[in-house]
């Protein structure tokens, strides 16, 4: 992989992902963004360019995941991260459910079911599946 985890630290207070802590990290971020800027800046966007953007996105995504996995975390960090992520998820879930309920209510009142956003429902269902799979795996593991 291209990026090194030593160049970054986990974001704790400003969202998800990681933030650079060394000049190498900042250069890595700049170099990661540069191809996208160059490929999308000058019209017309050809099919070749779209393919290049997709390839670039795949490479960067794989590298980002690799960095995230290898960021050093001790047991206290893991506990804190798990609790923070759980709290964030609860709030996201509450917002999604309230949103879905609102859309359903307005959809029923106006007799227009197309107002219900399927993405919200899919997100909740996929979340349920991931939770069930995680618990199943963890129960089997220990």
């Amino acid at each position: 992989m291209i990026g090194k985890h030593e160049w970054f630290r986990r974001r704790k207070y400003t969202g998800w992902g990681f933030t650079p802590v060394t000049w190498q990290g900042w250069i890595y971020v700049a170099i990661s963004i540069l191809p996208l800027v160059l490929l999308t800046s000058f019209p017309p966007i050809s099919q070749t360019r779209i393919v290049l953007i997709v390839i670039w996105a795949l490479i960067v995504s794989c590298d980002f995941i690799d960095i995230m996995i290898h960021l050093p975390k001790d047991e206290r960090d893991r506990i804190h991260e798990a609790i923070a992520e759980r709290n964030a998820l609860w709030v996201i879930l509450a917002v999604l459910i309230v949103g879905a309920a609102y859309q359903t209510a307005t959809g029923v009142m106006t007799q227009d079911i197309s107002k219900i956003d399927p993405v919200i429902l899919i997100a909740v269902v996929v979340g349920l599946v991931v939770k069930a799979v995680s618990n199943f795996y963890l129960d089997k593991k220990n």
């Binding site: 050093p72 001790d74 047991e75 206290r76 960090d77």
Partner: protein, 67 residues
């Protein structure tokens, strides 16, 4: 849980950073442990006890209000 990490650490003249590196945690975790704000896993407690050259966990970690 009360700890005597700082006592043994000072006795061995090692810094929080050195102890953290020896047991594979961050310095912040050692600070939290020394201030009795974090209960470590059994594995980490063993590692710290060993790093502080003590034989028994009970010498380093004192369980208060025990059963």
């Amino acid at each position: 849980m009360e700890t005597r990490i700082s006592y043994f650490r000072n006795k061995l003249s090692i810094t929080q950073e050195q102890l953290a590196q020896a047991v594979g945690v961050t310095r912040q975790t050692i600070i939290s442990l020394e201030q009795n704000r974090y209960n470590p896993s059994l594995l980490l407690a063993y590692k710290i006890t060993k790093a502080l050259q003590q034989k028994n966990i009970e010498e380093v970690f004192i369980l208060q209000n025990s059963i």
